[in-house]
C-alpha cells in the first residue's frame, strides 16, 4: 500500500480529476481523506499500486492545472518530495547507466 498526499487549489472539479486519475486505471481506493486548508486543500489516498503506477499517477496528478504538490509515502519519499516529476533523478540515473 502506498500513501499519496496531493495539495490542490479547491477549484471546481479538481478533487474529482484527482480521483478520476485513479479510477480510470481500475484501481480500488480503500482510503480517501480530504482536508480543507486555509488556502489550499489536501487529499490523502492510500492505494495498492506498483512502482510504474506510482510514477504514472504522480505525473498525471501533476498535469491537473490546480494541483500544487504531490507527495507519495515513505517508500518513495526521497524521489517524490522534490520537483515533480523528478526529472533530475531520472537524468542522473540515466547518466550513470550511459
Amino acid at each position: 500500500m502506498q500513501t499519496f498526499q496531493i495539495r490542490y487549489r479547491n477549484t471546481q472539479g479538481t478533487l474529482m480529476r484527482i480521483l478520476t486519475a485513479v479510477s480510470r486505471r481500475a484501481l480500488d481506493m480503500p482510503s480517501v481523506h480530504a482536508d480543507a486548508g486555509e488556502n489550499d486543500h489536501e487529499v490523502t489516498l492510500v492505494l495498492d499500486v506498483n512502482p510504474k503506477q506510482i510514477g504514472q499517477l504522480c505525473r498525471e496528478w501533476y498535469a491537473i492545472p490546480d494541483v500544487i504538490k504531490v507527495r507519495s509515502g515513505a517508500a518513495h519519499e526521497a524521489e517524490w518530495s522534490n520537483a515533480h516529476p523528478p526529472t533530475g533523478v531520472s537524468i542522473q540515473r540515466a547518466a550513470a547507466r550511459a
Partner: protein, 567 residues
C-alpha cells in the same frame, strides 16, 4: 448596461476569436441573440458534432484555439466525441455550452445535463459559471489552459440566466497561472547525457510525433535531424514534420507503418522520441517495443512519460527550447557517422510497400490525387482503411498538411473538420478523403459546405463495407463479416446533387492503366482545381486491404506484408 452574453462575446473577442462554430438551442439563445455586432463570425453547422469537429479542424490547421458553441442537454452531449478527440490529439479547444437557469440546476429540468460531470475526464479544465462577475476571469483562464503546455479541450458551462442578466460594465480579464513550487523542466545536463548515449550507440533512430509540430519547433527539428542523419520516422500526427524526400526518412511507423520504419524501430539501440505519446498503435506489444533500445523522450507533458515503457532519459519541456539546446551541444562533439546502420536501415531492400500493395487501384488513385495537388494543400482523412492508405501515400513537407482523428479514431471527423480548415485557409486546396461509413456519420455537413460555398474537394473511397473492421474480420475472425456490409449504401452522387454539390463517380478501371489515361488525369486535375465544392466517389474493391499491418498485440517486427494465401 451589458448582458452576460455580451460580456462573453467581448471576452472571446479579447482572446482573439474571429470565428466560432455552433448550433443554437434554448439555453444558449441569449448568446445567439447578442451575436450581431460582436465582431465574431458564427458558422452554423447542422449538428453539434459537426461544430466541434469544424472547430477542431480550424484549430489543427492554424494552431489557434477553436471555439464551439452548443445548448444544454443534447446539444452539450453531442460535443462529447469532439472533446474526447481534442484531448487525445492535443487540440486547443474551448466549448461554450448553455445550461438551464441556475435555480433549476440539479432538478432534472428540461434539457439539463451535467455536462461538467460528463466531460470531467475528457477536459483539461472546465467550469460551471455561477456568478456574472466571474465570466471574464473564467474565459481568460479557460483559454489559457486550452493553449498552454500540451494543448487540450476546455468546457465553460453557462446557465442561461447568467447570459441574460445585465451588469453595468465588465472588462476582459487576464489570467496568470498560480506558481507551483517546483515546475518540472529538464535541467541543462540532459544534453551531455544524450551526446554520451549517441557516442555509445550503433543503431540510433528518431521518432517524430505531433508535439514537434505543436511546439512550433519544426525548423529546429529539421536542422537537428539533418545534422544527426539517423533513420527517422513519424507517427500519423508527426507526418509533415520531416520532409519526405530526406535521405534518412523512412515514413510512418506503427500498426500500418512502413516495413523500413518498423524494422528500424525494432532493431535500434537508441530511440530519440520527439513529442509522441507512444500509444499502442505506435508500439505494438509494449513488452517487445524497441527491445534493444534506450529511450530518450522529449515531451512537454510529464503525464505522457513511461505510459507504455519506461524511458531512460525524460527531457521535459517545450521542444522549441529543448531541441535547440540539444542541437547546440552536438555541434560541440564528434559523433559517429552511423554510415553502415544508415545504409541498412534506409537501403532499397526494405522497400516501402510490397509490389502487390502498389498495384492496388485505390492506392494508385490516391497517388494520382496527391501528386496533382498544389503545394501546401491540406489533406484530411477520416477513419478507416482510406485513412491509413492516405497516411502511407501522402508525402508533404507542410507540417499541418495532414489532418486526421488519430488518437480517438472518430469516424465522421473529416468532413466537418474540412469546413473548419477551409474557412481558416480560404486560398488553400483542401482535400477531404472519407470512407463510405464515416462520410455518412456527418453527411449533413454537406449543407454547411453548400451554404458557405466552400471549395472543399471531397472524396469517398466506397468499398461498401466498414472496411477496416471487415479487414480485421477477414484476418482475425475467420471472415465472419458481422454487420460490416454496407452494400445498400445510398447513391452518394445523387445525395450530393440534392445538396446542390456537383459530384461524379470513378471506378477502379480508370486506374488499371499506368500511367493513367490523359482523360482520367484531366478529370482529376479539373476536380482538384475547381473553384467550387465537389464530390468524387471512387468505387473501391470490397476486399482491398491495408498492408503492412501489425496485428493487435504483436510486435512491430511481426508485421504482415500481405494477406496469407487462402487455403
Amino acid at each position: 448596461m451589458l448582458k452576460g452574453a455580451e460580456i462573453v462575446l467581448q471576452c472571446l473577442r479579447a482572446e482573439g476569436v474571429e470565428l466560432m462554430f455552433g448550433y443554437p438551442g434554448g439555453a444558449i439563445m441569449p448568446l445567439y441573440d447578442a451575436l450581431d455586432g460582436s465582431g465574431i463570425r458564427h458558422i452554423l453547422t447542422r449538428h453539434e458534432q459537426g461544430a466541434v469537429f469544424a472547430a477542431e479542424g480550424y484549430a489543427r490547421v492554424t494552431g489557434k484555439v477553436g471555439v464551439a458553441i452548443a445548448t444544454s442537454g443534447p446539444g452539450a452531449t453531442n460535443l462529447v466525441t469532439g472533446i474526447a478527440d481534442a484531448k487525445m490529439d492535443s487540440v486547443p479547444l474551448v466549448c461554450i455550452t448553455g445550461q438551464v437557469r441556475s435555480a433549476l440546476i440539479g432538478t432534472d429540468a428540461f434539457q439539463e445535463t451535467d455536462v461538467f460531470g460528463v466531460t470531467l475526464s475528457l477536459t483539461k479544465w472546465s467550469h460551471l459559471v455561477r456568478t456574472l462577475d466571474e465570466i471574464p476571469e473564467v474565459i481568460a483562464e479557460g483559454f489559457h489552459w486550452a493553449r498552454s503546455g500540451r494543448p487540450g479541450p476546455v468546457i465553460i458551462d453557462i446557465p442561461t440566466d447568467m447570459l441574460k442578466t445585465k451588469k453595468e460594465s465588465a472588462r476582459p480579464a487576464k489570467f496568470t497561472p498560480h506558481a507551483r513550487p517546483a515546475d518540472a523542466k529538464a535541467d541543462g545536463g540532459f544534453t551531455d547525457t544524450i551526446v554520451a548515449m549517441l557516442q555509445q550507440a550503433s543503431r540510433p533512430v528518431a521518432l517524430v510525433g505531433a508535439g514537434a509540430k505543436l511546439s512550433g519547433a519544426v525548423p529546429e527539428l529539421r536542422r537537428l535531424l539533418d545534422q544527426l542523419n539517423i533513420p527517422t520516422f513519424a507517427t500519423v500526427h508527426g507526418l509533415g514534420a520531416v520532409p519526405p524526400q530526406s535521405p534518412y526518412y523512412l515514413g510512418m511507423v506503427g500498426m500500418h507503418g512502413t516495413r523500413a520504419a518498423n524494422t528500424a524501430l525494432h532493431e535500434t539501440d537508441l530511440l530519440l522520441v520527439f513529442g509522441a505519446r507512444l500509444d499502442d498503435r505506435v508500439t505494438g506489444d509494449p513488452s517487445r517495443f524497441a527491445p534493444h533500445a534506450k529511450i530518450v523522450h522529449f515531451e512537454i507533458d510529464p503525464a505522457q512519460l513511461d505510459r507504455v515503457r519506461p524511458c531512460d532519459l525524460p527531457v521535459i519541456g517545450d521542444l522549441a527550447e529543448t531541441i535547440p539546446a540539444f542541437q547546440a551541444e552536438i555541434c560541440r562533439h564528434a559523433l559517429p557517422d552511423f554510415k553502415d546502420w544508415h545504409a541498412v536501415a534506409c537501403g532499397p531492400e526494405r522497400a516501402e510497400l510490397d509490389p502487390r500493395g502498389l498495384a492496388q487501384p485505390t492506392i494508385r488513385f490516391l497517388d494520382e490525387l496527391f501528386s496533382r495537388l498544389p503545394e501546401n494543400s491540406v489533406v484530411l482523412a477520416d477513419v478507416g482503411q482510406h485513412q491509413m492508405w492516405a497516411a502511407q501515400r501522402y508525402r508533404s513537407s507542410y507540417p499541418r498538411g495532414f489532418i486526421t482523428s488519430g488518437g480517438l479514431g472518430a469516424m465522421g471527423f473529416a468532413l466537418p473538420a474540412a469546413v473548419g480548415v477551409q474557412l481558416a485557409k480560404p486560398d488553400t486546396c483542401v482535400l477531404c478523403v472519407s470512407g463510405d461509413g464515416g462520410f455518412q456519420m456527418n453527411i449533413q455537413e454537406l449543407a454547411t459546405v453548400h451554404r458557405l460555398d466552400l471549395p472543399i474537394k471531397m472524396v469517398i473511397i466506397d468499398n461498401k463495407y466498414l472496411g477496416m473492421v471487415r479487414q480485421w474480420q477477414q484476418l482475425f475472425y475467420e471472415r465472419n463479416y458481422a454487420e460490416t456490409d454496407l452494400s445498400d449504401n445510398p447513391d452518394f452522387v445523387e445525395i450530393a446533387k440534392a445538396y446542390k454539390i456537383p459530384s461524379f463517380r470513378m471506378n477502379e478501371d480508370a486506374m488499371r492503366e499506368f500511367p493513367v489515361s490523359e482523360q482520367t488525369g484531366n478529370e482529376i486535375d479539373r476536380f482538384l482545381h475547381s473553384p467550387n465544392p465537389e464530390l468524387l466517389v471512387f468505387d473501391c474493391a470490397p476486399e482491398a486491404n491495408v498492408f503492412p499491418m501489425v496485428p493487435a498485440g504483436a510486435a512491430l517486427s511481426e508485421m504482415l506484408l500481405e494477406e496469407e494465401p487462402s487455403e
